[in-house]
Amino acid sequence: MAEFVWRRGITERNSSAMATFIRRHKLAPYLMLAPALAGIAAVLLWPLIQVAVYSFQNYGLPQITGAEPTQWVGLGNFTATFTDSEFWLSLRLTVLFAAVVVPLTLIAGTLVGLLLNQLGKKMAAFVSTAALLAWATPPVSASVLFYWLFNPDGGLVDWTLSKLPHWLVGSTAWAGFNWTTSGALPAYTVLTFLVIWQSFPFIAVTVLAGLKTVPAELYEAARVDGATPSRVFRKITYPLLKPIFLVLLLLSVIWDFNVFTQTYILTGFPGNRDEFNLSLYIYDKAFQFPPSYGLGGALALIFTLILLVVTVGYVRASVRQGALT
């Protein structure tokens, strides 16, 4: 009925040939979608296709200027990638980082969400405002800020660690410790704190919204039965919020796989190659001199395929929640 309203409304008063054509062929929704689809096609889909094409070519500076012709190189870019030990190192770092940070973020976010649900109104507003501010901090500001906090020269973290008592890992050896240039482990420790700080608020607020949808009678009944908090979580909260947790898990995996801004700034790109994650490795191959768009394209394709697997999971989780209705 509503659809009929729009179809009729759009064209009835206007009996030009164009309007008749639109009505007869039911074109109204397509016309309304056209600008959006054109933008998505031009900026998201077409570049992806081009990248796929570049990945089989030797596309670089000489090809752009026309000094040398563009040639098909078959799987050359892919074999070059798979035989490069730096690729495997960056892939390993990316996977390890996601494997550590995704669970930590989800646990921290869920705990804060549960806490917010228990707090009084004013306290909950205070805590969620603090979380909102961390989330609202632009990634560039947050990265520069954490770089400064962990800076060997005047940074607060090294100073604090050097003053802590021994039993709390305190030692004067921390004074002047350089977190960002001493290899992947210290650099990614800073990154872990940074990413959790920025992403737990979203998880907390989403979990809180989910908790509000759980009928209070269920908790009431559990309380009467004398269930422990952990049992309440396992038997009531978790099963009911499972769809939300699934979406949050997939989103977190995608986000933590994609980290670029934070790693770019914290590792001082292109300074420390042993601290490259996959994003930095791709960017380095594609844009650092001499630029190789073919190699970068092959990598971008591999990266997209990895994320596609996760995305399929995300889409299926969304569809199962009835998102398409």
Binding site: M1, A2, E3, V5, W6, R7, G9, A28, P29, Y30, M32, P35, A36, L37, G39, I40, V43, L44, W46, P47, V51, V112, L115, L119, M123, A124, F126, V127, S128, T129, A130, L132, A134, A136, T137, P138, P139, V140, S141, V144, L145, F146, W148, N151, G154, W159, F202, V205, T206, V247, L248, I254, F257, T261, I265, S279, G297, A300, T304, T311
Partner: protein
């Protein structure tokens, strides 16, 4: 009896104190880095590199801010220039993305057409394509179009990138508007543009605010496209690229760098606090409803 109820009260009080205590702790730990950024921005350099750092500046100064405003510290111009660039890009992105996604969301929420489900799945998938994968081709395309070292190129990319999520979010809002309102208006003889602007638009306005905030975040925070497109075109830098450039110059100018970061961060925080109710509702609607 009275003894056991007394114990229940004690347990309850203990629970309330420990909950509130945890709440305060979480809030303080979360706020601390921001406080440190703002505090550093107001410190003179002797205090920044002091052997015993203090949370608040002992002798607060505006010197860092004046260096950032004069452009002396970064060497590429006053912070206001980059502020203007960021605001221009962000506003244009929000307007363009809102308009285009509103049209599209009405199409998917109000019409049943052949490729409707395909369009919805496409939107879900394209929002997951990593920016790092696209940037290579985007860079080469926009280079050919001569759109690299200016703000227009950024606006086009940001608006398109904001579309999939905006359409999804708006679609949920359009779907909650009762169809009967439109039908009644149509029976009273209202034309489609009238129905759109007079009935649908006011009712989905809260949704538009939510999607605008999303487009705002996309444009104001975006890094990789601006970094790649703007290159050495300093005068076209947006705030994140300016802060990164400034930071990358080295020289341990932490006072001025934190002043620049503060000027980049605090306005968006104030904005978020103002719109927070809509913000949380809109974001959660996206995640909870799928």
């Amino acid at each position: 009896m009275s003894n056991s109820s007394g114990r229940a009260v004690t347990v309850k009080r203990f629970k309330s104190v420990s909950l509130n205590g945890t709440g305060v702790l979480v809030a303080l730990v979360t706020l601390f880095p921001i406080a440190w950024m703002v505090s550093t921005a107001f410190k003179p350099s002797q205090e920044i590199f002091s052997l015993t750092p203090h949370l608040t500046p002992t002798h607060p100064t505006l010197a860092n801010f004046s260096q950032v405003i004069s452009g002396q510290a970064s060497g590429i111009g006053s912070v206001w220039l980059f502020f203007r660039n960021s605001i221009a890009v962000t506003l244009a992105t929000v307007l363009l993305a809102s308009l285009v996604s509103l049209l599209a969301s009405v199409a998917v929420a109000r019409f049943r057409f052949r490729f409707r489900a395909s369009v919805l799945v496409l939107l879900l998938i394209v929002q997951m394509i990593p920016g790092q994968a696209l940037i290579i081709a985007l860079f080469l395309d926009f280079n050919r179009l001569g759109l690299l070292q200016n703000l227009l190129g950024l606006i086009i990319v940001y608006a398109a990138q904001a579309l999939p999520v905006s359409i999804w979010m708006l679609r949920n809002f359009v779907a909650t508007v009762p169809k009967e309102l439109e039908e009644a208006a149509a029976i009273d003889g209202a034309s489609a543009p009238t129905i759109f602007w007079r009935i649908l638009f006011p009712l989905v306005a809260p949704g538009l605010v939510a999607t605008s905030i999303f487009a705002f975040i996309t444009a104001y925070n975006e890094f990789i496209v601006a970094l790649t497109f703007l290159g050495q075109a300093h005068t076209a830098y947006t705030l994140p690229i300016y802060v990164t450039y400034f930071f990358g110059r080295g020289g341990a100018q932490w006072g001025p760098i934190m002043a620049a970061s503060t000027m980049y961060t605090v306005p968006v925080m104030i904005f978020f606090l103002i719109v927070r109710r809509r913000l949380v509702g809109g974001l959660v609607a996206g995640a909870v409803k799928g």
